[in-house]
Every structure is written in structure tokens, then in C-alpha cells.
Assembly symmetry: C3
């Protein structure tokens, strides 16, 4: 069952990577600030307590907390504290932490609902960015809302375009987050 | 116990339907865009796997995942992927999906905390709308925040007025969402 | 194990209370509205059903719902319905309820991710305020986003500075929330 889903997943993944944007943002507006960051998620599977950066904390009836549920993981809630890096290397020096939750929320495809915060602590940025929206995982690039910022990103609003930069079975994924602020203060 | 709550619920429901607005929005502002949409929720109860559009994924100590908890369901977290329609008919062609979570969060009345997204995919709208707020279920009409939009609702902000359009025991509910955007781009 | 964490916690707490701000907001902007409110959280521990205002509803693998998990409670999700007061007295007349969820989301310090709403019902304020962000618990004062308001706080946006005003073991905490609106309508 799980194996079949995985095969379907990889197939759709390839398809998605060659497809066009789902909901293109209007192009006429120019961001007042622009950041590209990566974050890295290693989910706890019962054996990787040392490395895991996220954990399943809720699951639908009949499922457990160390194996993602069937039906495209519908109903799984994961809490994460993932390192943020400037490039796509998991081992690069983190510039902050991505913290919050993701929820698999569709029965017939991979989709997750995201509520999370970037806590940035680098020479460039000291502050937080708050994100909210649906991650249409199978779409190459998809937009969520930047609902607020603090610190040196005080009151910033905008759009974040998410791209799956790597995906290794049900162990590791890396997202590229292209953040465009349209309201800067 | 459950039965008693249900009776109280229906009674309060009637009361609510005849009552006035809880927190009326200021009337002097005119929306720059206006949408009225419905969404339909069928909660999983252990027997309706085929039809259910939502599932209880977390519950307080002592409760389970196929029966909503006592004490006004306090502590129940449900994940949903509900069809959105233009009218109040569950069987109308969906124009998108409402995805996210609702959390029953009061011990002495029915109230839920909502974090969810409308993923719209129709000829009129290609994009997402992000909602956040408390749903005072027993009040006829109540307001939550529209914290962002993407696609052709890029950077939109506003207020959504929610009304319970139908409620059938603990099996089905339908919400009417009257979305008024006050910041359009 | 739990005891050791508690000692570490109190030590860090003292440290934090004497430290400077984490991410100071820009000082040049003056709020168009300003509110200071307190809310009070009593977590359910299996014995305090009458007084408890919050409950653990999700936990990582191996943990339960009446004791906060080890590793700085990483993965615990709590649903709350807490009284809001104008001063720091739990027994003062509430002016509303703080409703939503907090999620402990770091393995090596105390941090929580917050999504919640103030439902205000007083002579001064009739409406809701929606909050979103990471609460860096060990930092004296930390900022989250105010992502929207309704009622007489219609469409308000801003920043909330959170301070731990009291902390009594794993039974009770009180937060002071200093809300500065920079967009008023």
C-alpha cells in the first residue's frame, strides 16, 4: 500500500517538475525586498531521534506516530524545527530555524497546510517571518502568504513561492522558499 | 451526556439564528472585491470513509478519534478538505477546496478556532485565500480575518463573515462565507 | 529527567529575564492604537478538570496527554481558552478570552509556535484580534504578528510583544501582551 503510493508519488513528482505554475502571481508588482532561503526537514520514524527535525504528533483514527498515514498521509500533523540555510546544502551553517506545523490535508493527492515562522538570526536578518497557506506539493511552484514580520522585517507582507528542491522517500525533504515582500516598512 | 449537549446545542442554535450580529464590522468601508462561497464538511465517524471530508486527528485525554469529545468537543482538532460551491448544494460542481484545520476550543459553548485556505480553481478565480480566526458558532454571523491571498487574489486582505447555513447533528455542516476584500491589488 | 529540565528551565528563565530584547522592532513608527492585556493559562494535568483552561491534545510518539513531553515538550500541542484580564490578577473580571493553540516546537530550548485569537467583549472593545508567530519563551520580550482584527478592531494590523509575567512550574503561566497597531482603520 505504502509502496504503491510512493511509486505514484515519484511519477507525479516528475510530472509536476515539468509542469507550469499553478497560480502565477501578478507580474506587474516589483518586490520591495527579496529573500531566497532553504529549509530541511527530517521526520522522526522511530529510529532517527538524533537527526530528526520534525515529528508526527497527530494522525487519523487507526494510524500511528512513526509512520506517515495512508491516503496521502491525510490527517497527519507534524511539528517541525528545521534548519534554514542560504543554499541547498543541509550541512551549511544555518541562518535560522523554520518552526511550526504542516498538515497533510488531501485524500487523493499530496497537499499540506502550512502555518510556520522563520526565526532568522544572521548578520543580514534579525527577526521573524510568518507564513500561512496551502502547499500544493505536486505543483512545481506554489504560493503561500507572508502574513507578517518582526524585527528588521517589521510589518512586512508578501508572497512566498515554495519549490520542492529535494525529496528522499519519506525521510528528508528540502524546500526552497522564494520570499517577495510587497509591503516593506 | 452527549444527548443532553445536543439538545442544548439545538436550543442555542435557534436562539442564535434569531439574534443579532456579535461584532458588527464598521459599515463605512466599501469592499473592493466581494465573494460569497459555501463549503461542506462531513466528519469521519468510523463508518463513512468514502464520503467523509474531514477527520478528527487530535483529542483531549480520554477521548477518541471517531466520536467528538464531550464538553462541547473542547480539544478536538479536525483536518479538512472540503468542497467549495457557489450555492448551498453539496452536489453542485465544486469551484475549489477548503483545506486546513478547525479546533473546538471552549468548554462551555460551541466555538472553534479556524486556520484554513480556499484553493480556488474556476473560470473566475485561480488562486488561494487564507483565513484565520475564531468561529463563534452560536452567533448567527461572525467575522474572521482574511490574512492574505495568492494568484488572482494576490495580496488581498479583508474580512470573512461566516454563517452556519446547515447543521445536521454531528455528521454534516455547511458554512456560508461572505468574503469582503478591503485591500485589493 | 523532568526534574532536570525544570532546573535548567528556571536557570535559563532568570538569565532571560535579565537579557536584552531579541529582535527589537523599529522604533521610528508610532502605533495608531495601543493595548496591554494579560492572559492566564492553566494546563490540564489529569487532576484539575475544574480549573484547567487548556489541554494537551497531541504529543509525540511515546508521550501522553496529561504530562508535558520531555525534550522541552517538543511536539506537544495544547488547545486553550484562557481568560484575558486588564491587570495581572487571575481573578480580575475577564474582558475576553484568548483562544487557539500553542505548540512546543524546539528540542533544545523552550519555544512555542502560537496561533490564537483574542475575543474581546468589554465596554472598550468588541471584536477579535488574531495573532501568529513564534514565542521565544526564554527571551524576555519577543514579537509576534497581529495578522488581522474584526469588530471595532476591523482590519487592524500590528505587532504584539509578549512577556512571561509569571510562571509556576508546569501548572500556570501568565503572559503580558503589549499590542501595538500600526495599521488602523
Amino acid at each position: 500500500m505504502e509502496a504503491r503510493y510512493s511509486i505514484v508519488f515519484y511519477f507525479l513528482m516528475l510530472l509536476a517538475l515539468s509542469s507550469a505554475f499553478a497560480f502565477p502571481s501578478k507580474k506587474q508588482y516589483k518586490p520591495c525586498k527579496h529573500l531566497v532561503l532553504y529549509f530541511h526537514d527530517i521526520i522522526y520514524n522511530g529510529k532517527n531521534a538524533g537527526n530528526a527535525t520534525s515529528a508526527i504528533v497527530a494522525a487519523p483514527d487507526g494510524a500511528n506516530l512513526t509512520i506517515l498515514a495512508g491516503q496521502f498521509h491525510f490527517g497527519n500533523v507534524a511539528v517541525f524545527d528545521d534548519p534554514i540555510t542560504l543554499d541547498n546544502n543541509l550541512h551549511s551553517k544555518p541562518v535560522g530555524r523554520a518552526q511550526g506545523l504542516y498538515i497533510y490535508d488531501t485524500k487523493n493527492t499530496f497537499t499540506s497546510w502550512l502555518g510556520f515562522t522563520f526565526v532568522l538570526n544572521s548578520t543580514d536578518h534579525q527577526g521573524t517571518i510568518n507564513f500561512f497557506g496551502v502547499d500544493l506539493i505536486m505543483v512545481k511552484s506554489r504560493d503561500i502568504s507572508v502574513v507578517g514580520g518582526t524585527g528588521n522585517l517589521f510589518m512586512h507582507h508578501g508572497i512566498a513561492t515554495i519549490m520542492t528542491d529535494a525529496f528522499e522517500g519519506e525521510v528528508y525533504f528540502r524546500l526552497c522558499v522564494d520570499i517577495k515582500f510587497y509591503e516593506c516598512w
